[in-house]
Amino acid sequence: MHRIVVDAMGGDHAPDEIVQGAAEATLGLTGAEIILVGDAAVLGRVLPRMRHDGARVRVHHAPSHVEMDEKPAEALAAKPEASIAVAADLVARGEGDALISAGNTGASVLACARRWPLLDGVRRAALAAVYPTELQRGDKKDPFSLILDVGATIDATAEDLVGFAVMGSAYARLISHNRRPRVALLSNGSEAGKGPAAVVAAHAALVETTELNFIGNIEGLDIPRGVADVVVTSGFVGNVVLKMLEGVSETVVRLARYAHKERLAWRLGLVALSSAIDQLKSITDWQQYGGAPLLGFTHPFIKAHGRSNARAIGNAVKVAHKALAGNLCANIARTMAELDERAQRRAASD
């Protein structure tokens, strides 16, 4: 049985939507138990309003929680019994197997980083995000590519980037049912020698690997095209790219609204396209993807969007369950060990 710990107090719509999503997920996943962490009195009032299985959802009391706009380190220091800290503790103590939070991203990452060890061979954890693309991938026909790191740390060395590639590939294989995900490094040109030193060195290392389907470097414009299934970059660049892509999407929607107001002909055009737009919205709906995984630790952590509703949380639970069932962390550790062994052999032969 997989015990999935959920920070019930984190997120814009907590606790109601978080509890509903997690509780309803138990109806479809008989092999999972949900541990809701938060104010037991509040959760005790919310939970009976939701459909769930009372033998598979339990509450673990945490008297406080970190607000979305609080500074992570300060908040965790001031509230040692905040729901995210208690939740990460439960997993660290072996009382839970995976963690989900829609709360303050910084506090969530910090809470895990302070309590969970990194996998053998992993130097840095990476936060991955999904981005809608033109192309679909894997048996599930996922219209998303995975970008990592998008902000767990700022800089990344060549070894870190190789580690991110391994972790992203393992995740895509498991969650998107993509047998051989195409992995690429984000750079300012497709040539092997382009980009900062860490990217050039990572390229040289990744070309040597047989475990990964490394397709080389890609540029920013290739991300929405879906040229790669896993896009590897440093946390600083990844975060900037992700925010820019989100900003562009929002601007396009705003422009469409402007067009809607401006001319009758444009309005009619938009009405004619409405079903296609709806279709597009449904296939690029981030809520169906559940959340962004924090990869590299001994346990899976799914960071759900702050605006997550019940459906998004339900999907995050499914992703966590799948990561546990597919032994994601062990797979990453095994690949890292294989790469490490090869590097050592090469060093010895040199």
């Binding site: 049985m1 138990e33 037991a40 009976p48 009372g54 033998a55 959802v57 339990r58 509450v59």
Partner: protein
Amino acid sequence: MATRSILRRVSRLPTRLGARIGLLEPEIEPLAPGARPPRHTFRWDLDKTYLRTEFDSLADLAKSAIETAADKQAFPGATALLRALRQDDHRICIVSGSPTQMRQVLAAKLALDGVEYDEFVLKNNLKNILRGRFRAVRAQVPYKLPAMLRSRIAAAAPCETLFGDDAEADAIIYCLYADLIAGRVSLADLERVLIASRAYDDDAQRCVDLARDVPKGSAVRRMFIHLDRRSPPQGFRRFGPRLVPVYNYFQTALVLYQDKVLSARQVIFVALEMLDSGQYELGHLATSVQDVIRRGRVSRDTALQLATDAHEAAKSGALSGRTDLPPFEQIAEAFRARVRELGTLPPGEAAPEEPLDYVRLVDEEHEHRRNRRKQGMA
């Protein structure tokens, strides 16, 4: 002599044939003169309460109809609970909405499970169809309520416990029955409820007559609603603290232990049957305890007392031969830890005890059923 014998046999033929095709149902036998009345009556529904039954679609209905007794599955813990409730001065009465044609297979299933009962009432839908009473085929209140009243008239007990599910109108019917025999619902109000329930006039009159004759008393101590559809338990709060929605029979056993109906040893037997089913692990049972405490249906003191009593029962052999389980102290500690996880949570807010507007409840239930049918769920 021979002619008389032949005539007698011929005269019995319609009765036998009627019973065979389910047109005639055996009457509920009153207690024999001088027989001791029961101390506690337990009334059980079958489908979705004792038996795992699917009838949300026509295919489910057809499958359920052709299943053999061996195919039918009881919910984990239900059989152990029914066996534990079977005592000398207890009476087990089964009132099910299944058609009378299912009697043979259902009786065989109960026999296979080693469940003994005193009454077994099924719904005579063939008779309803032959008489053109199509409304009665679906009706719940006009069928179940008189069946329960008739049963109480035959053998009234000072205590009653009722078991139903969240699929049909069991919560409404059980509360109505409890309030009716306690004298809290007038005959005039009953008539209004029966009209709302679309009972045929003569059926309604018969039900009112039974309600007039039924021995009165606040006998119904507890009602359990098995949340087969996983309906939110909050929806049952309006029925008051006497009605307890439960996710599984371990929770039922816990409440009955608190009510001093079951012993710790009997609770253990229910738990063991659930573990043996392979559908529950010890962790699920511990979480079930936490759930009923959180909902204020069982107190922390009761849970702690059960741990002590169960330890005694385990020492006296209740767990003998169970090498598959960890030592009892380890189990008890896991359960205690699950309760501690709640922190200093104040006891759950008790459900309000307010008079129920049954006409409105029946109307809402009809509306709910209509909506479900529209959505293709029932």
